[in-house]
């Protein structure tokens, strides 16, 4: 059975590692980590993920700008993106993924069950 490919883009390696270990332990996900947003487009083109988990506040390139670049890329424009943000509260997102201005958001720290639920809803 083909595993779902997830690309996690976050400048914090501990965060990408945590997400990667948890999702891969479930068996149905193949996760690629990218901690340098400047390489994100190239990594995504090489990996061709089914879904991208993207941090908002990153050095060099802001998550929102990166998301726009992904949308503009002919190969990646259809790949769903879920933002992971520290700036929203779980009460604002009502404990689950929310859509703000056309983008999907999850509030950090996100729980594994919530993360998988959000991923599955976009596949």
């Amino acid at each position: 059975m083909k595993r779902v490919r997830i690309l996690v883009i976050d400048d914090e390696a501990s965060v990408t590692r945590g997400i990667s270990l948890n999702l891969e332990a479930l068996g149905s996900y193949e996760v690629r980590q990218e901690n340098d947003p400047r390489n994100a487009i190239a990594t995504a083109r090489a990996f061709m993920p089914d879904l991208i988990l993207l941090d908002v506040m990153m050095p060099h390139i802001d998550g929102s700008d990166l998301a726009r670049e992904l949308r503009a890329d002919p190969l990646l424009k259809r790949v769903p993106v879920i933002f992971l943000t520290a700036l929203l509260t779980t009460r604002e997102t009502k404990g689950h993924e929310v859509r703000v201005a056309g983008w999907n958001y999850l509030a950090k720290p996100v729980d594994l069950a919530e993360l998988t639920r959000a991923i599955e809803s976009h596949l």
Binding site: D10, V15, I19, L21, L26, A86, V110, L112
Partner: protein
């Protein structure tokens, strides 16, 4: 005449008399003075040109000049001299030379006329002086009035400035707190996520010992609690745009009660619901107002660790503490049967980070957030002790 009697009865009767005379018409004064001249002439005729009687003629002259002005005074001088001459010529046994009498009469007329002119001028000067004083007094009074108005305006401007300054300080403070909160959120939530994910990962691997699993669960809960505190800080610091829509306060109260029903039951807290039907709709951000009510209910429940009763009451008061033409006030009271709030804490309960709960159990932001949300709605919130024991949180709104 009655006024004249009253005037004479006063201690400063002469001043009052002169004042009264001054108010009489010129014709009345002339008639009165002429009558006095006639009366003095009669006395003069009877006494035989005594010098003392001659001096009496000064009375109508002075009266006429003072009360009737220059013309009446000079007229009385002439009338007095003529009367004096008549009395001198006609009195019994008069043997004087008529020419000498006439010469004396003309001299008398001249002297009386001079007295009349002097008195009339004096009276005019007095009137001019009084008018100038009255005008100056009126000007001064107007200046005093204007100065008072200016003072009131200045006080108002000062009060406005003070209020604006406080608002600016508050806004600057909140902006700083907001920046800090955003920074803290970013710096703390990422490590929390790492910890949470780490604990979750090891839990997935099914630890061999139950203690290890319990420890990992504790770690996940600790992450949840820390996250809750950071979220509270973000909530407090960030005034999100209001989403006001007309809402029935009673419905919002019921929705909030549904959210905490289970928690209250677990804490052996009974809810008494006393909601006044037919309240006018209020412009509310329902989610935020639910948050306020849930917070106040939770607070009330925490004030009764052994259980008790929470009374939730809504009511409408015409005008409230404002004038009767103001919109009615809608009130929400949440009362508990706990031990009340220590008086020394009453003034600080809405301060950010103020808490009486043991370390690690409260963020100290709950009531600050309540205060802030109510403030954003243009309402007010107070927490007070009840005379019957317990405390009451009162939220007030102005119905539009």
């Amino acid at each position: 005449m009655g006024a004249l009697v009253t005037a004479i009865g006063r201690p400063s009767w002469h001043a009052s008399l002169l004042e009264w005379l001054g108010r009489q018409g010129r014709a009345s004064v002339a008639a009165g003075s002429l009558a006095l001249v006639t009366a003095i002439g009669a006395v003069d005729y009877g006494t035989g040109s005594e010098v003392s009687v001659t001096l009496l003629y000064l009375m109508p002259v002075a009266l006429g000049a003072w009360a009737g002005g220059r013309g009446v005074g000079v007229g009385m001088a002439g009338a007095s001299a003529l009367t004096w001459l008549g009395a001198g010529l006609l009195e019994p046994g008069a043997g004087g030379d008529p020419l000498v009498l006439a010469w004396n009469a003309s001299t008398l007329a001249g002297m009386f006329a001079l007295v009349a002119l002097a008195l009339a001028a004096l009276r005019q000067s007095k009137a001019n002086l009084e008018a100038a004083v009255a005008q100056r007094t009126a000007t001064l009074q107007e200046e005093v009035l204007q100065r008072r108005r200016a003072e009131v305006r200045l006080q108002q401007v000062n009060a406005d400035l003070h209020s604006t300054q406080l608002q600016l300080i508050e806004a600057a403070k909140m902006e700083a707190v907001g920046r800090m909160a955003a920074g803290v959120a970013h710096e703390v939530k990422n490590p929390l996520m790492t910890l949470g994910m780490g604990a979750g990962y090891f839990l997935q691997r099914r630890p061999a010992h139950a203690d290890e699993a319990a420890l990992l669960q504790d770690m996940k809960q600790a992450v949840g609690r820390a996250s809750h505190i950071i979220n509270g800080l973000l909530d407090f610091a960030r005034p999100r745009p209001r989403q006001l829509a007309p809402a029935d306060l009673n419905e919002v109260v019921d929705d909030a009660l549904k959210l905490v029903r289970h928690q209250l039951a677990t804490q052996k807290v009974t809810v008494q619901r006393q909601l006044q039907p037919g309240l006018p709709p209020l412009p509310l951000d329902r989610v935020r107002m639910e948050h306020v009510i849930v917070n106040l209910l939770t607070n009330a429940a925490q004030a009764m660790p052994g259980g008790g009763t929470v009374t939730v009451r809504t009511s409408m008061h015409a005008g409230g503490d404002r004038p009767p033409d103001q919109a009615p006030q809608i009130r929400l009271d949440i009362e508990d049967t706990g031990e009340g709030i220590p008086p020394e804490h009453l003034g600080r309960v809405f301060d950010p980070f103020f808490t009486t709960k043991p370390l690690g159990e409260g963020t100290g932001l709950g009531l600050s957030i309540v205060h802030r949300i109510v403030q954003i709605h243009g309402g007010g919130v107070v927490l007070a002790n009840l005379s019957s024991g317990g405390a009451c949180a009162t939220v007030t709104f102005r119905s539009s």
